[in-house]
């Protein structure tokens, strides 16, 4: 089945591994992703906080192009992109708002936009838990995973339509279908502090540390994330978090697509596992798989 796909800016940079694993897993499940041609930034930059119309104009251009291709369903991996696209679509239902946005665009936006959902929802809708289980080549039954959605994916509930905003369960279902032991992770929708990563580094470190500490205490083998910014924050800044908490973390932070890819028997390099700052080699060993091609520079070294 064909889907239109909006990768988002981080796909080409900090979350190249998310991008790679998303495409690999979707291909394995028979989902063909076609990018929106000439897509542009969704406005997750300060735009959405500074000027809702400008931010909506950015999104509307993407949605407009998707609509003109006759697409009904649009997938995006990044919760921030998802949030912006869905907010824009909702705001554009107001005719006055739409008129103001149309002034910013070359042409008036298409009257109806496609329905935007996350890749996670897209996969679940495409084949369901049973369909996923059918693709599993190597069960993740030896892994204990802490699902972590981040704060954006399920909020605000009336826009995101992602189930219980405090307790979403979709990722649990997907990972369980892959055979993993999935923790009931209480901080699954807590803030990791990434948005304040630059101005308030100490606060960010404290918030990240809380999540990593809980995952460690709950004996998770890895945290499984769904957001490029959360993943980068929890993975790349793990040393800072460890320092803030006076603790020692060795907690790989995977994308859910990477975890699924492993279960599907896709090779670690197809999944970009080598990009992880905290090496996933220990996981691979548990799964009796060879280590990722060339572990990242400091891979496997405990962060303090």
């Amino acid at each position: 089945m064909n889907y239109t796909y909006y990768p988002g800016c981080s796909a080409g940079g900090s979350s190249a591994d998310y991008e790679k694993s998303t495409r690999a897993v979707c291909a394995a499940l028979g989902m063909t992703l076609a990018d929106i041609p000439d897509w542009n930034c969704c406005g997750s930059t300060p735009a959405h906080a500074v000027d809702t119309e400008l931010s909506a104009a950015l999104c509307s251009r993407n949605l407009d192009m998707a609509a003109r291709q006759g697409v009904r369903k649009l997938l995006t991996p990044c919760p921030s992109c998802l949030s912006n696209l869905r907010h824009a679509a909702k705001r554009m239902e107001n005719p006055q708002f739409r008129a103001r946005v149309d002034e910013l665009l070359d042409n008036p936006a298409a009257p109806e936009f496609p329905d935007v959902t996350s890749v996670m929802q897209g996969i679940a809708a495409h084949c369901g838990a049973n369909g996923i289980a059918a693709h599993v080549r190597g069960s993740l039954s030896r892994l204990t995973l802490a699902p972590y959605y981040g704060c954006l994916m399920s909020r605000p509930p009336e826009v995101m339509d992602f189930g219980d905003p405090e307790n979403p369960l979709l990722m649990e279902n997907l990972l369980a279908a892959c055979g993993a032991n999935v923790l009931n992770f209480p901080l699954k929708t807590a803030c990791c502090g990434a948005s304040y990563g630059i101005p308030e580094r100490r606060m960010t470190a404290r918030l990240s540390a809380r999540i990593l500490q809980l995952a460690t205490d709950m004996k998770a083998d890895a945290v499984v994330a769904a957001c490029p910014l959360c993943q980068m924050n929890l993975d790349l800044r793990q040393p800072q978090a460890a320092k803030a908490a006076g603790a020692r973390f060795v907690m790989p932070v995977l994308y859910f697509t990477q975890a699924m890819g492993l279960a599907f028997g896709l090779s670690p390099d197809m999944l970009g596992l080598e990009k992880l700052r905290v090496s996933a080699d220990a996981l691979l060993r548990k799964l009796e798989l060879p280590p990722a091609p060339q572990g990242s520079a400091e891979g496997g070294k405990p962060c303090e």
């Binding site: 219980d164 307790n167 009931n184 901080l187 807590a190 809980l214 205490d217 709950m218 004996k219």
Partner: protein, 652 residues
């Protein structure tokens, strides 16, 4: 007809924005008005005397008073005209204070409006007919629904006052919520020790008939003559034979039956007596967990019972009691706090309700009074109390304060320190509400003597830390800082709502109830025990949050109302009832079908079906009158012609 109109100044309350003299002058031009005056205070003694004098002097046969709301003084003036020799229903009021002078400042518009309201009242009065009340006998017995402390108090007071009492309790024992408490604030005396003797008094009083394990099935009738059908649920034990020895419970093999009396903090047997001081002290089988009743084999209790009381074939049965009034004392239940997902929604074993904590504190509870975590039985070192869980929270539709949680939380913090001297308690609160006698002093002791740490703020989340403790995240709004506490146990002061089934009972009693199911009193300040249905009184928390002393006081107050009602041998009905013009009635039965009180009967007159109003049952709503297409049913004092006269006075 000769009508007199009195336009009251009410000091400056009315005269301030209404030209009362002009209204009186205008009134003289209305049909049949022969006299009009504008007294200063019509309701005062000289004002009433003036009405009486005018009736006599001018031969009036009807009076209109334009003053305050009829809800205030209609009865007063009806008595006045009666003293003057008129029928009390030859009187109408125009509300020119609450509906005119107090809500507008435009003197011209107000004067005009007041005159119009007087014109409407005159138009209605011209069609008034004298009405006479009927008297009827009173059954001098009282039914009390609910055997908590309020119901117990009401029952004892009524019985002592010489009125036979029927006390209906849903559970297998009376005692209500108070029986579950360990200690009571602010004296920290033992709940069982002060309630127990009263419960025994109920059992032993010859004037009290107690139906436990029973519920109200149907209520019919009216003040003085209620007929109440009571469902006596099958207990599978013949209580006439049961001696309460407890042998059955000892031998029952079904030992994992959820223990409702202990708020599900422990397990019990399928046949049991909920607690040693239970009244009646009789065994009851929990049919859902009894092996004999679910699987058809066991029968142990029947074998061991020395008096042969066990009867597996028992079925629900019904009794009907005739009573003159009903006291509702159904109490409360905790709201379903599991909607608070942020506190785990019930998934964390050591996050419990305060009532459960009370059972853990109690010597008769599942732990014998040892505070132990339900998850692993360890004694907690750090206990966090969270107040207002489901109280004062509009986001879950619970705007009301549950009243007594501040106090029992302080009590529980004190008892925790008593039981576990090394423990530390935190209390998250919104405000401390301690207005009762010795209450504020008591809550201060929790802080000052027992070292409970009070944090003003809400808790945003509770989650297990993976190492056996719970992280409580909240805000200290006095410091303006987030707080995180590692706790061994979290106790929630869960908000109260009316007892399960209260609304269904309210509908049977024809009384109203609010959003949370609490019954509505007749007047918030002046009639807190009465309801708008005559002969139905309220006691205890069923009417709104109350602590034990207030519940007891209201129990006595309700009893006083019942005894007052029964001081008379005959009661009078309100003659503003429906009346049938049998010549116009075609017997279609539409009125019979929709009367909410069953006050319209079908009768046969000369072989033709006709409607007949049972006047003592009719409450005077007039639904039948607006339903009857022929206009054959008319509501006395609000007939079609009277309302039409008012409409016609306004629209022509």
């Amino acid at each position: 007809m000769r009508i007199g109109v009195f336009v009251c100044h009410c000091g400056s309350n009315i005269a301030g924005t209404v030209n009362c003299a002009e209204v009186a002058e205008l009134a003289k031009s209305f049909p049949d008005v022969v006299y009009a005056d504008d007294p200063m205070y019509t309701c005062a003694e000289p004002g009433q005397a003036a009405i009486e004098a005018a009736v006599r002097e001018h031969g009036l046969d009807g009076v209109v008073v334009a003053s305050c709301s009829p809800r205030m003084h209609e009865t007063t003036f009806r008595r006045t005209v009666e003293r003057a020799g008129l029928n009390r229903y030859m009187f109408e009021m125009a509300n020119i204070r609450e509906h005119v002078s107090w809500i507008g400042k435009d003197r011209e518009a107000n004067t005009n409006k007041a005159a119009e309201l007087v014109e409407m009242a005159v138009a209605k009065l011209r069609r008034d007919r004298p009405l006479t009340a009927k008297t009827f006998d009173v059954v001098k017995r009282v039914l009390i629904v609910g055997g908590g402390v309020a119901g117990i108090q009401a029952a004892l007071d009524c019985a002592e006052g010489g009125v036979p009492v029927v006390l209906v309790e849903r559970e297998s024992t009376i005692g209500g919520k108070m029986a579950k408490l360990d200690k009571t604030f602010p004296t920290v005396d033992c709940s069982a020790c002060i309630l127990g003797p009263k419960m025994v008094d109920v059992a032993q009083h010859p004037g009290i008939t107690l139906y436990a394990c029973s519920e109200i099935e149907e209520v019919s009738g009216y003040v003085g003559n209620f007929s109440v059908k009571i469902r006596r649920r099958a207990t599978y034990v013949d209580w006439k034979k049961c001696t309460g020895c407890g042998m059955c419970g000892e031998k029952c093999p079904s030992k994992k039956t959820p223990d409702a009396f202990n708020e599900f903090t422990g397990a019990t047997t399928a046949i049991n007596i909920p607690f040693p001081q239970a009244i009646p002290k009789k065994a009851v089988i929990n049919a859902r967990h009894c092996r004999q009743l679910t699987k058809g084999k066991c029968g142990v209790c029947a074998k061991v019972c020395p008096s042969g009381a066990v009867d597996y074939a028992m079925r629900d049965n019904f009794v009907t009691e005739e009573v003159g009034c009903i006291i509702a004392a159904t109490g409360y239940d905790l709201m379903d706090w599991t909607i608070y997902r942020e506190y785990g929604g019930g998934a964390y074993p050591d996050v419990i309700t305060a009532l459960q904590y009370e059972r853990l504190l109690s010597a008769s509870g599942p732990t014998g009074g040892r505070i132990a975590r339900p998850s692993d039985g360890r004694e907690p070192q750090t206990v966090v109390f969270i107040q207002c869980v489901g109280s004062r929270d509009n986001s879950v539709g619970r705007p009301h304060c549950s009243g007594f949680c501040c106090m029992y939380t302080a009590k529980q913090a004190i008892l925790t320190k008593d039981h576990l001297p090394l423990s530390h308690s935190y209390v998250f609160y919104m405000d401390i509400r301690a207005p009762g006698k010795m209450y504020d002093e008591f809550s201060r002791r929790a802080v000052e003597e027992y070292g409970a740490e009070y944090i003003r703020g809400r808790v945003s989340a509770v989650y297990p830390d993976g190492l056996g403790q719970y992280v409580v995240m909240g805000a200290d709004t006095l410091l303006g800082e987030p707080v995180e506490i590692k706790a061994d146990m979290v106790v929630l002061a869960v908000g109260i709502e009316a007892a399960k089934g209260a609304s269904a009972l309210a509908e049977k009693l024809c009384i109203s109830y609010d959003n949370c199911g609490f019954f509505m009193e007749s007047h918030v300040k002046l009639k807190p025990v009465e309801t708008t249905t005559a002969g139905v009184f309220l006691a205890g928390v069923c009417q709104g949050a109350k602590d034990i002393p207030t519940s007891v006081a209201q129990g006595s107050a309700a009893a006083a109302k019942a005894l007052g009602l029964f001081a008379r041998d005959k009661l009078e009905n309100d003659p503003q009832t429906a009346q049938v013009d049998i010549r116009r009635c075609v017997g279609c039965g539409k009125c019979v079908r929709c009367c909410p009180f069953g006050a319209v009967a079908e009768t046969e007159i000369r072989g033709e079906k006709k409607a007949q109003i049972i006047e003592t049952v009719c409450q005077g709503c007039g639904l039948c009158a607006s339903t009857c297409p022929q206009g054959a049913v008319q509501l006395a004092h609000s007939t079609d012609n009277q309302i039409l006269a008012e409409v016609n006075a306004l629209c022509r």
